[in-house]
């Protein structure tokens, strides 16, 4: 499968980079810590194979117009050796300019691996940078490891609607690049005894030229978006039978401090907006608990929830596909089951108060 070239040509030793990002508030996104911790594991494994020390570097492209504190050195607690910070006014919002900065640094320092979260930022900047660097990029990985023989990064991602898992390598070019689904890797407890070194490299002005200006940013309200960050997601589908059914779904979700998800058909019928869509053509979520009501369980939807901690399905159809992939299946009318569940949760809250 690797053509005529010898396996010994494949070795790509070097540092492991994490492309970080900040939230609009200025704080680092939690994905930075997830990826830094994973990068630490990979760098330690790669150091063993390489027989030399491979460092973890976090690359931060920051907006100098945001006053919020990024606190880049916190990445040290999760295993970063160095933080390379580049800032410019509205720089991260210009994906092409951000990609040129990343590609400029990578061409200079030649890391073995660059990984980033599969967020709007990562999924725009990484392919742009990969094309500039003429190297491979694997999208939306759910598993990363080092091949002990070659030191190559093994990148695993769901393919064909989540029906298969494909493991991919980038054998002859560096850096090996991958985006990773948020919440794929756990954030370990911080180790405050570890320290990272902060560097501010000089970047030529032409690399940072911006052709994109940000006019405004409208944060989603509580009911919208940010599903990926939630510990609980309550999703509704066609089984709600009417758009107003999302009122009940929202009630349960807000009781649990969770987000509201939806299947593709109901988003297409405009019962709820696109940011709520979970599945292949929407968001991939991985909450601790995913409650799925009135969704039959097309592969399209399952692929978006399969890494959830626990899946609870409520459906009238005893044959619904969703039941097979659930931990708990309640076969019944969601309009009877959910109000009873809400009552029970409220009662329990009452006792524990």
């Amino acid at each position: 499968m690797n053509g005529a070239k010898d396996e010994s040509d494949l070795r790509a030793f070097g540092d492991i980079w994490v492309l970080g990002e900040a939230k609009p508030s200025g704080e680092l996104a939690s994905t930075v810590f997830e990826l830094t911790a994973k990068a630490r594991e990979l760098a330690d494994d790669l150091s063993c194979t390489a027989g030399t020390v491979c460092e973890v570097k976090v690359i931060l492209i920051l907006d100098s117009a945001v006053s919020g504190e990024a606190r880049p050195l916190r990445t040290g607690y999760y295993g970063a050796d160095r933080v390379i910070a580049v800032s410019g006014e509205r720089l991260p919002a210009d994906r092409a300019a951000s990609a040129r900065v990343l590609a400029h640094l990578a061409a200079k320092h030649r890391p073995a691996v660059i990984m980033a979260a599969a967020t709007a930022f990562g999924r725009s900047v990484m392919p742009y940078a990969a094309a500039l660097l003429k190297t491979g990029l694997t999208a939306d990985c759910t598993g990363l490891s080092i091949d002990f023989e070659t030191g190559l990064l093994l990148q695993t991602r769901p393919a064909i609607g989540g029906n298969i898992m494909a493991t991919i390598r980038t054998p002859y070019r560096t850096p090996q690049m991958a985006t990773v689904r948020p919440r794929t890797f756990r954030v370990p407890a911080p180790r405050t005894d570890r320290r990272a070194i902060l560097e501010y490299p000089d970047i030529p002005d032409e690399v940072k030229i911006r052709t994109v200006t940000t006019v405004s940013f409208k944060e989603f309200d509580e009911r919208d978006g940010a599903l990926r960050e939630r510990d609980v997601i309550v999703s509704g589908g066609k089984g709600l039978r009417r758009a107003e059914g999302f009122g009940l779904i929202s009630k349960l979700a807000s009781l649990l401090g969770g987000g509201v998800g939806a299947s593709r058909p109901v988003v297409e019928m405009k019962w709820i907006s696109y940011p709520h869509q979970v599945g292949l053509s929407g968001q991939t979520v991985s909450p601790k608990v995913c409650i799925v009501a009135g969704i039959s369980g097309a592969v399209q939807h399952l692929a978006g929830i399969q890494t959830s901690g626990r899946i609870i399905a409520i459906n009238r159809d005893p044959e619904a596909q969703i039941f097979g992939v659930s931990d708990v299946a309640i076969c019944g009318d969601l309009y009877e089951v959910i109000p009873l569940l809400i009552e029970r949760i409220e009662r329990r809250r009452g006792i524990s108060k």
Partner: protein, 265 residues
């Protein structure tokens, strides 16, 4: 402004075969449809162009993809160019972007390039930004609104990010990828269909694009699939029939227990 739309033909069902040798998808001989988001991209192009501006569809795929391009012509595109060659088979997102960028250079760089955010088969969402990088133009992804600025030199967009909606202005030429919220795809008109069947899809090969074997398809792809696994999605399910005496209560208890373990109540 002249607009190009990147279009991909995708398998129309879950019936997708893999080549066990290369780990790439077998596209020859499969019935295909236009990737749904690419139709949103085309509709966005039809809406933003001024009278007299041209909309071209650019695609890479097997000869069968011509049918999909015709669907685009029926929806109003002025021309359709299909890059097809055995050498293109098995290409990853970089190799695909390389071919599409070569086609766009050949036909003359349009002011605006629009693509669907991702395709339903490969689902990488990478080809759009990669094409932009190879052409040296800015890119924006997950666009839900697209308007031309009155000075004719840029566009204003809304794009969805994790925490909200970003409104940006971008100088032309540029590339954007769109999601389904941007518009509703109309059905083709009868006259559109007639026109589509009387107009030709232009076909270009690797040699037309001056691309060598090493620059296209699997040999040019930096990424290689090394293993395919079939994950088991099934879980050990505890079933509760609401209609049976006591089972609904037991089921609700179990849910509360899970929510308690997860520390959400």
């Amino acid at each position: 402004m002249n607009v190009a739309v990147l279009m991909k033909q995708v398998p129309d069902s879950d019936n997708v075969r893999m080549n066990p040798e290369t780990g790439t998808m077998v596209r020859e001989g499969t019935s295909g449809i236009v990737n749904p988001l690419d139709l949103n991209a085309l509709e966005a192009a039809m809406s933003i162009r001024a009278p007299g501006d041209a909309v071209a569809i650019v695609s890479m795929g097997p000869p069968e993809a011509e049918e999909s391009l015709r669907e685009g012509l029926a929806l109003g595109a002025d021309r359709a160019i299909l890059a097809t060659d055995k050498l293109f088979a098995g290409g990853d997102s970089w190799a695909t972007a390389n071919v599409l960028a070569a086609v766009l250079k050949k036909i003359g760089l349009p002011d605006l390039i629009i693509a669907g955010e991702k395709a339903t088969d490969g689902e990488t969402g990478q080809v759009g930004p990669e094409v932009a990088a190879l052409l040296g133009i800015p890119a924006a992804t997950r666009v839900t609104r697209l308007d031309a600025l009155s000075d004719g030199r840029g566009i204003e967009i809304d794009c969805t990010v994790e925490d909200g909606i970003l409104t940006q202005r971008i100088e032309l030429p540029c590339l954007v990828t769109v999601v389904s919220d941007i518009n509703t795809v109309p059905l083709p008109t009868l006259s559109g269909k007639k026109r589509a069947y009387s107009s030709a899809v232009e076909v270009v090969s690797a040699s037309d694009l001056s691309l060598s074997e090493a620059e296209t398809g699997l040999p040019a792809s930096p990424t290689r699939v090394v293993k395919i696994d079939h994950p088991k999605l099934t879980r050990r399910t505890e079933r509760f029939m609401a209609k049976r005496q006591g089972e609904l209560d037991a089921g609700l208890d179990r849910i509360v227990e899970i929510l308690t373990e997860a520390a959400v109540i």
